[in-house]
């Protein structure tokens, strides 16, 4: 099937420089000496899973800089995915300046991006996944998508996620679950799921009792579940159960107003009951979960629920090149996370025998757009989706000297532009922008296009606001969001990064309890924040009720038109206490004290 020819393989192999040291990785992934390896990895066992997650509707190849700050605390201190930059290279034995280093870390990002070009892109992903499926056996391969697929680009918003549903259909994805999918309206979501050829599964979304009384549709009225909780799939001679776990905090982190009938939660007790029921009733050869919990939440779920073989996780956008084992009362569950933005395909080969997974190989495979040829059918779809808007999408709004990115626990440079724009255009003292983990990168010397801007702002509740806020309340907001990120209990972590601030600096001690993490709140003038004074705050993306201001991309577009060129961007990041030796921060790239 594949349009990869031998010469292309050879090229790929010669440019990938790093040895694969990870436990249970396929042979010779990054250290390829023989022509038949790299994208044509050595087959193992009798069932292959392909895993993609959090592509955020990036149909086109992207730049996406991995975080330089992704702190792990308590039991997750120094554990994947809380290892970044040089610490990551050292931990996994990857050579600096290699393609592997470029795809998985922030080190010399701009320089490496110019050498290795963009990653991902659905036309390239299609070529790779068709190849991985074809070379192993179509009837033995299952393709899972972990959600955050219908949101994140201009065209996904303009088509209400339909462009991505069609892309998933062309790609041949078999099973999906969701998160940002639920930021469209209930009717649109149900119509999209209907149009989706893949099974949409979620055990942890229920229809509220009062909605049921009013006649709302449920997949199962007895359990109250809104969607099919699991699906049985035939893989060669084996039957595998795939259980869905949608993002548990959708109705807290995102607006409830679009989906008033549905209730979400981690629901670990229900997960255990379901696993037991599926094991007893279906007698599966293996049980896997396609999850949007986030990495640390998945690890805790793997510890408290038994009977799951693998969790294919997402949400926290972590590119982790190994399957991490977690012990529980009855055995071991392995947790996988396959990055974001279409940068990676996770490949898991299982050896199943006598209703048991005897052994496996896992490889996180980067999607290099300059190495993989485009699939023509997917390319055609992407072109047709973009054609009506192409002039607007490709319009340069400004140029930049700085590398622009978002991902990381604190302000990224693209957030800084959004925060600066909100303050300047709206005449506010302080601005705030949510700590989303999506948002692609723009290289120094490049133009910032409308596409780029929408990759950071495209969503169904982009309205801006300005309001008067007391100093004490500013403090409360920061404490609340910090607790969602750094709470000791992973089940209380919502998986976003810290709220981005403009005109406001502070010190944070992530290891403290809520109410005690944030100190030294100051305006950018150096003036201390007075708890009783009123400040003018500008922001966007309100979860409670819709704000009335223009969509934030209009605010930023105006700002970029006024400035035309971004240079000497001053990144406002907090001083961090207690992280000096934490491998979750690349201190050489951190502008604050840490």
């Amino acid at each position: 099937m594949s349009s990869l020819n031998r010469r292309e393989f050879l090229y790929m192999m010669s440019v990938l420089g790093a040895s694969s040291l990870y436990a249970k990785s396929h042979q010779k992934l990054f250290d390829v000496k023989n022509v038949d390896s790299y994208y044509k990895i050595e087959n193992f066992g009798n069932a292959r899973f392909l895993h993609m997650t959090d592509c955020h509707a990036q149909l086109m190849p992207v730049h996406f800089r991995e975080p330089s700050v992704n702190l792990g605390l308590y039991s997750n201190y120094g554990k994947p995915p809380h290892i970044v930059g040089e610490h990551f290279l050292k931990y996994y034995g990857i050579k600096e300046g290699s393609r592997a280093a470029f795809s998985m870390t922030c080190i010399n990002y701009a320089e490496n991006a110019k050498r290795f070009h963009r990653v991902g892109g659905f036309a390239h992903i299609k070529t790779l996944t068709d190849h991985l499926r074809g070379s192993f056996g179509k009837n033995k391969t299952l393709f899972l998508d972990g959600g955050d697929t219908w949101q994140g680009s201009a065209t996904s918003l303009y088509t209400r996620g339909k462009d991505m549903v069609e892309a998933l259909n062309i790609l041949g994805v078999d099973v999906c679950t969701g998160h940002w999918e639920f930021t469209y309206k209930e009717k649109e979501i149900l119509a999209n799921i209907k149009a989706l050829k893949a099974d949409f599964v979620a055990q942890n979304v229920t229809v509220k009792d009062e909605a049921l009384m009013d006649g709302a549709h449920a997949y199962n009225e007895d359990t109250g579940r809104a969607f099919r909780p699991y699906v049985m799939k035939k893989m060669g001679d084996h039957m595998v159960a795939v259980i869905g776990q949608a993002f548990p905090y959708t109705t807290i982190a995102n607006p409830q107003r679009f989906i008033p009938d549905w209730s979400f939660g981690i629901n670990p007790d229900e997960m255990q009951e379901l696993v037991d029921e599926v094991r007893a009733k279906e007698k599966p050869d293996a049980v896997v979960v396609i999850s949007h919990n986030g990495y640390d939440v998945d690890k805790k779920m793997a510890a408290v629920v038994s009977g799951i073989d693998f969790i294919f996780g997402g949400h926290t956008h972590d590119a982790v090149p190994e399957a991490v084992p977690v012990k529980n009362s009855k055995g071991v569950t392995h947790v996988i996370n396959s990055g974001s933005n279409g940068k990676f395909i996770g490949v898991l080969d299982m050896d199943i025998k006598d209703k048991k997974v005897r052994d496996f190989r896992f490889t996180l495979m980067p999607v290099f757009s300059d190495l993989l040829p485009e699939d023509t059918q997917m390319k055609k779809h992407i072109d047709s989706v973009r054609a009506p808007f192409i002039e607007k999408l490709t319009k340069p709004l400004a140029t930049t000297d700085n590398l622009l990115y978002r991902r990381g626990n604190f302000n990224g440079t693209f957030d800084q532009i959004i925060c600066d724009a909100l303050r300047e255009v709206k005449g506010a003292d302080i601005s705030m922008s949510p700590g989303f983990r999506w948002g692609t990168s723009v290289l120094p010397g490049e133009a910032i296009t409308f596409d780029d801007l929408m990759n950071h702002t495209s969503m169904t509740y982009p309205e801006t606001y300005t309001r008067d806020v007391k100093g004490a309340d500013l403090h409360n907001i920061l404490e609340d969001v910090a607790d969602n990120l750094f709470n000791k209990d992973p089940f209380l972590q919502q998986g976003g990064d810290m709220v981005r601030t403009g005109g406001l600096s502070y010190t944070i001690d992530p290891s403290k309890d809520i109410g005690k993490r944030i100190t030294n709140l100051e305006l950018s003038s150096g003036e201390k924040i007075d708890a009783n004074r009123i400040y003018k705050l500008a922001g966007w993306s309100t979860v409670g009720s819709a704000s009335t201001g223009e969509p934030v991309w209009e605010t930023v577009e105006k700002y970029l038109a006024d400035h035309k060129h971004i240079k000497n961007l001053k990144l406002e990041t907090p001083d961090i206490i207690g992280v000096k030796d934490n491998p979750g921060i690349q201190r050489s790239l951190y502008p604050g004290k840490a």
Binding site: H179, D209, L212, M213, A218, E221, D222, T223, G224, F247, Y249, T250, T251, I252, A253, N254, Q256, S263, F264, G265, I266, D269, P434, G435, F436, R437, W438, N476, I477, D480, V481, D483, N484, D489, F491, L492, Q494, G495, G496, D497, V499, I514, S541, T542, V543, G544
Partner: protein
């Protein structure tokens, strides 16, 4: 049975139970101060005459880790004890912590679901009074956020 019909039946049953509670000797009629108490322990003291509780697995409390809506947090209370006399729900962070009390007459299945209003993050406690008048407690913290930024 369809869940829809079952829920309908549930509402009818609840109305009957409420009538029974009013007609029997209830905490509300015998200890009117308990519902006005400003701390959970004050309410306990007034309702049961003691704050001594056993933290065991006899009292069972099901609540979310984080509330989707602090104004209506779903809670299910139950007990594995036979012949328990009473169950009470205390929300420590609320201005009037005692939120509900159930008198268990003979033959009642001791399992109830309801919604509670929570002003802020804090502990929710279920107190079960067994046949001997001893108190059993289950505690669960529920977080009420000011607004998330998930992504």
């Amino acid at each position: 049975m369809k869940r829809r019909k079952f829920i309908g039946l549930g509402f009818a049953t609840m109305a009957v139970t409420a009538l029974q509670s009013v007609s029997s000797a209830s905490i509300f009629s015998e200890h009117p101060k308990a519902f006005m108490a400003k701390t959970g322990d004050e309410a306990l003291k007034d309702a049961y005459g003691t704050t001594d509780v056993m933290k065991d697995d006899k009292a069972m409390l099901k609540l979310p880790d984080i509330a989707e809506n602090g104004g209506a947090v779903p809670v299910t209370v139950s007990t594995s004890l036979n012949n328990a006399k009473n169950m009470s729900l205390i929300i420590d962070g609320n201005p009037r912590p005692l939120a509900a009390s159930w008198e268990l007459t003979e033959g009642t299945i001791p399992k109830f679901s309801t919604r509670i209003k929570m002003r802020k993050t804090g502990n929710v406690r279920l107190i079960v009074e067994d046949a001997n008048g001893k108190l059993h407690e289950a505690v669960k913290q529920v977080k009420v956020t000011v607004g998330g930024c998930g992504g």
